[in-house]
Symmetry: C5
Subunit: 354 residues, 5 copies
């Protein structure tokens, strides 16, 4: 399966407005969990059907509905009706090959983002699409698969009880997005650490693995860039939007979030350049080594080749080689060998190969 | 024939306003088909002459006229008169070397787009120009050649009958463009899949074919970029246009289309970079391999060259080589050989070549 | 002579307003030709002096004055007076090292453009500066040298007679510029065709000529870029100018022209990238070939070098080499040779060099 | 520890508003020093607690509070209360992995900047975060560690006494930032000097060290870029801010500062390019040298290999080699050797290898 | 001394407003020359002290004061007072490591520019800072060293006498800047000419010098870019400034100047790319040559190595080598040699190495 663009054959030829899940179908039953809370109130439920959350939407409390598994299109249809979401947004939620984006629907603010998961053994990053929808009195989050990414927010809700800020659903939205963004920086840090460590390898050994390792990092950095960079524009679109449910002071937190994403993007570029420099340096070192090897080989071969030739001459069986019968012939041979050898050594000295 | 710029010799020296087909002439008779439909009405016809569609234009129903083959300039002239199109637009339709663009004529909205066709065996993408013109009560589509690209829309019209949205001609226009855009993403996915698969080849074998395969992909990605990227600006020009026939809610679908094209463009860049990285990695691996080969050769040659020289010496026929007559001469020779060999091995060990 | 920047030593230290021809002086007498025409009227004249055109400027007809040769600065001075041109524009006309540009003088619109001429044998493009000035009732064109570039427009004027559009001098200006732009696209097509053909050469043979050919194309594409790209901005400056002599409907033709130049620029970039990719692919192929050659050499040398050494040993003349006197010594020798050879072959097999 | 992104594991899963020090914890007790001064007044104190500075904030004099060590979060909390700083700003101060930025709080202007320290022996640049906050009647500076960077400003305050400008706290802020910026330029100058000196090395010797040295500079230039470039945008944000405590004439000094940072950024790019050119040139030289070495080796080997073969032939022990018994056989042998040698030399001459 | 960033150690830790000369101190006494002129008036004086020019500033004539040598900070202080210049501008004048810039002081317009001097023997460009300040009734120019750069303007003032334009001090400013800009283009032309000539060298010989020459040009082009490019923005800042002493018609000359600088910048980029292409082509050619050399070596060695081995075998002294005693043994040997040689030749033929 192509990693950078998911299989869209199922959607081909479909009416643009029809709901089709793009990406691998996950077969488990979707799980719906609800947190309904306020300063003096906390209800947590696992729901059987999305319809069960309707009563909570009418309370004065913040209702956070989280859904794992988006493959049941009927459920998505029900969600659309219950939360009053546009068809195009529902399509975006189902299309897991979406770029990160912000959709302003007037009556809601929706973010399509990517949760990233870095397996540091295989050096491969996986992306899962997370949709976060802020409505008048609810926050709706949809994930492709079960995961524990939002657990820190959950425990903060449980523990802090009446703390003010999380009682606003726009701040809750921010807190959820903040976790995703923090995750970006922490993945980049891990991969960046590994890239910086490559440095030692480059200068100590020169093996093939470095090339494939560098290649691996380049791929993963591209993958990071693809999934993180558009999130910046998403937040900028929110900030430009005058018709949003976010209150002014939460928006200032979103500005901070935007800066985190810019920081992440710049770090990705920085590591991309670093990795390219490493490949270049590696190539230069291999090149230098080969040059040195060539010089040794040339010196060895070029000195001994004529000497061996001379020895070959006096190994010939011509009946009449006068030098062979000289009394000091063998001595003269060695003198000749020495002279030729020294001349060649001086020649290479002059060429600065020694 | 140049693939990136088509033969324009026919148009040279012509008055700028004159209609000349740029690109290969197709010889088959143009085919004109008409769909006139509404919520309670559907007429399909193959027309002999473009004039036969005039009656349908006056009905309250949506009239979609599709034409294969644009080489009959008289027909194009008639089209211009019947549908009230500007001469510059007719020129654009005929010039199949046009970049994708949007032309706003006040009384119509016209898109010149490219339908792409990827032959995955030869790894070659072909482009065909498709013009889509939205008028007050008609949609006119012109294609260079016969094809089945719009069939899904046709069957949707036939099946869904009274569904609301396709009864609006601006939505029909969107649906046709959506098919073209979907096709872009699906071609990029196919070619991207192949590029990602190259990875295995790079690390397992190192043959010439990889270089030519990578080159092939670079060319095709350039070709994709050339034909897709300007479509983004075309839609942006539509969105900026206050004087368009598109209704507001269809425009929001067009925004989605624009994002698809941006997604396509970014994927093209991503795969371009990937392919460049693959070439670099391939070169590094070949380089590394050569370095290793050089080291083996050097070690072999450099060890045996002096040894062979020594053997050559004692193969000489000088009458007076004292070593030859020593009782343990041959043994001493072997000891000498071993010493020289070990010294050289240690030398290479120190150089870290072993 | 530098090709990308012309000799400006003559202008050095001159007052900025003084008229100096930058570029090689052409010695032939300038030729002045006039076409004065309208729907019912056509006069053509070769003029001896630029003053002879004054009477025609007062008629209601379009007066097109074309001048070959701009080396007589007095003539340029007279032109400035007759047509009421600013000194800075006259300077620009004389400075043939000018970038393409648009000068709006309120009472005229002037374009400084480059006519390009591609000699497909030597693969060299030559540029000639053409100035086109649109005044209230005249069009003035100045060329460095005699040429037939505008002949198609001339014959259209002669033939079409009363056709409306060419009777407007702004449309005439457009028609002349259109010829120049068409020429750009046709040169790019020719050179692009040649570049695309290089592909075959790259994969079939690997000779030095490809490197120099690719270099040649890079130079010429730079030259094209330098001469074409600024023309886009020139037209954009015209379109932004509210104080122009162009009428609105001719401006829509100029928009089309701008798009042609953008198309040309993008094609230049496309071919530049293609040519760079070709050079990279060529280098990779040469590299691959060298790797393969190295492997063959290594295998050959590394197998025979120890074998030759062994043969050398038994060619020695020690009085006491026991193996030589063995009955099956020679047979054992061959067995030894075979064993060593096979071990080496297996070694290279393991290294995947065979 | 990753150098380009600091360890943020401590902050993971924390509420976005909670104060956590990102970066290594420093264990020494924070030091707080205060300068309270005016034209006729100067008080200097080392404070035990941040609360001790409260009385000074109420005077009409400028109060500059400088703090080394930011690891005590309670102290940071107190600072927030005393100086009335937003929580987000306090977070930024603690997060030492922040990019340089400007925060406008209406009641204060805050800059998060990086002080750089270049160890010219190890060729490594270290960054320390410095926060400078300009309030109505105070300037607050926070540094990670003890250092003497602001000493020149301190001695100017002590010496100049009543000089007007430093009596304004906005000018003091500028003076402190100016020191940091000056430091940037001086580090770039030092590193740039070293890079320019590399030139000689490249052309005189070709050793591995150059590759690693160049790599080192590339890394450090990336590090400089990361820490300096965003400072430009920080100042631009200040200049765009209408609601700032900086007075107009101090802002004109800030414009100058912005230009210094632009100068620094451009110098970084310039040296980056220089270093890349050096690597390319180094590679080309190594390549050229290898080509030359190959030619020498080829000439030597290719001349002697056939000669040695001929000598080998006449060293054979066939009973019946007629040449061996010729009277002038040995002479003929030498003539043959000479002829073969000369033919080969001419061949290489023709190939232009000699 | 670093060439791209000058020594600023003297300025470190100084108050930002204090005047310190950055760059090498020149020891000669500054020279002050004055031209006071109008249509009917011309006074030229060498002044001893800058105060001597005060009377001339009050006349109705244009006063042009030119100063060589800016190392006497008292003099600069006096200049500041006499001409009413801001302290920041005086700093800029003294800091010879300034980027080209425009300073608008309301009561004056100041340009800090670089005069370049190209030594075509050493291929090194030197930059000298020139400050040009246009005041209400004066033009003040300050140069680091004595030079004759403005002589053409001086002689024009002397000769033309009453010519109108030079009687305006804004036009005089333009004329001086025009000389500097002309100088840029002429240096680029000279260096460009040399670069274009490199082409022949690349294809005829392949020596190390080309690499160092190309490197040299890259450095100098960077140096040109650094000193020229910001001048464009300087003029654009002037053109955007509504509060300038330049009159409208002189500003249209400044537009022309801006275009010259753009032309210069684009030529620098063009030659930079050309030089990079040359290096690439050079590398490809060296690579190709090495490939060819390798092939020759391989063919030679690979053919003779087995042949020599065979000859070695029959040079062995085994008592019992049956072939040696065959009657036609030697003949069979030659037949064997021929067969092996031909097989190898055919093998290489098949590999396309011959």
């Amino acid at each position: 399966m192509a990693r950078f663009l998911k299989d869209r054959s199922k959607a081909k030829g479909q009416a643009p407005g029809s709901l089709v899940l793009i990406g691998r179908q996950k077969m488990e039953k979707p799980q719906i969990s609800l947190m309904d809370y306020g300063s003096d109130h906390l209800v947590e439920h696992e729901l059987d059907s999305i319809n069960d959350c309707i009563p909570y939407l009418k309370t004065k409390y913040v209702s956070w509905i989280n859904i794992y598994g988006i493959h049941e299109t009927e459920m998505i249809n029900s969600i659309g009706e219950i939360f009053n979401l546009d068809n195009l947004l529902l399509e975006d939620i189902l299309n897991t090959d979406q770029m990160p984006k912000y959709v302003s629907g007037g009556k809601y603010d929706a973010f399509i983002l990517k949760m990233l998961d870095y397996d540091s053994d295989s050096n491969i990053i996986k992306a899962e699409q997370i949709s976060i929808i802020l409505g008048k009195n609810f926050v709706l989050t949809l994930q492709e698969r079960k995961g524990d990414v939002f657990d820190p927010v959950r425990s903060r809700i449980r523990n802090y009880g009446g703390r003010v800020r999380l009682n606003n659903n726009d701040y809750l939205t921010y807190a959820l997005m903040d976790i995703i963004t923090d995750n970006y920086l922490s993945i980049i840090e891990t991969i960046g650490q590994k890239i910086e460590n490559l440095e030692t390898k480059i200068f100590s050994e020169n093996n093939e693995e470095i090339a494939s390792e560098i290649y691996r990092y380049k791929i993963e950095l591209s993958f990071l860039r693809k999934n993180i960079r558009p999130a910046k524009e998403a937040i900028m679109n929110l900030l430009k939007n005058v018709d949003t449910l976010f209150r002014a002071d939460t928006l200032s937190y979103m500005v901070d979030l935007k800066e985190s994403i810019i920081h992440a993007s710049e770090s990705i570029e920085l590591y991309s350049n670093l990795v390219s420099d490493q490949l270049n340096t590696h190539n230069t070192l291999v090149n230098n080594k080969m040059n040195q090897v060539m010089k040794i080989l040339t010196i060895f071969a070029s000195i001994f080749i004529p000497l061996t030739f001379i020895a070959g001459i006096y190994g010939m069986n011509f009946t009449n080689i006068p030098e062979l019968r000289l009394k000091y012939g063998y001595l003269f041979f060695w003198i000749l060998i020495l002279i030729v050898g020294i001349i060649l050594l001086l020649f290479f000295k002059k060429k600065k190969w020694l």
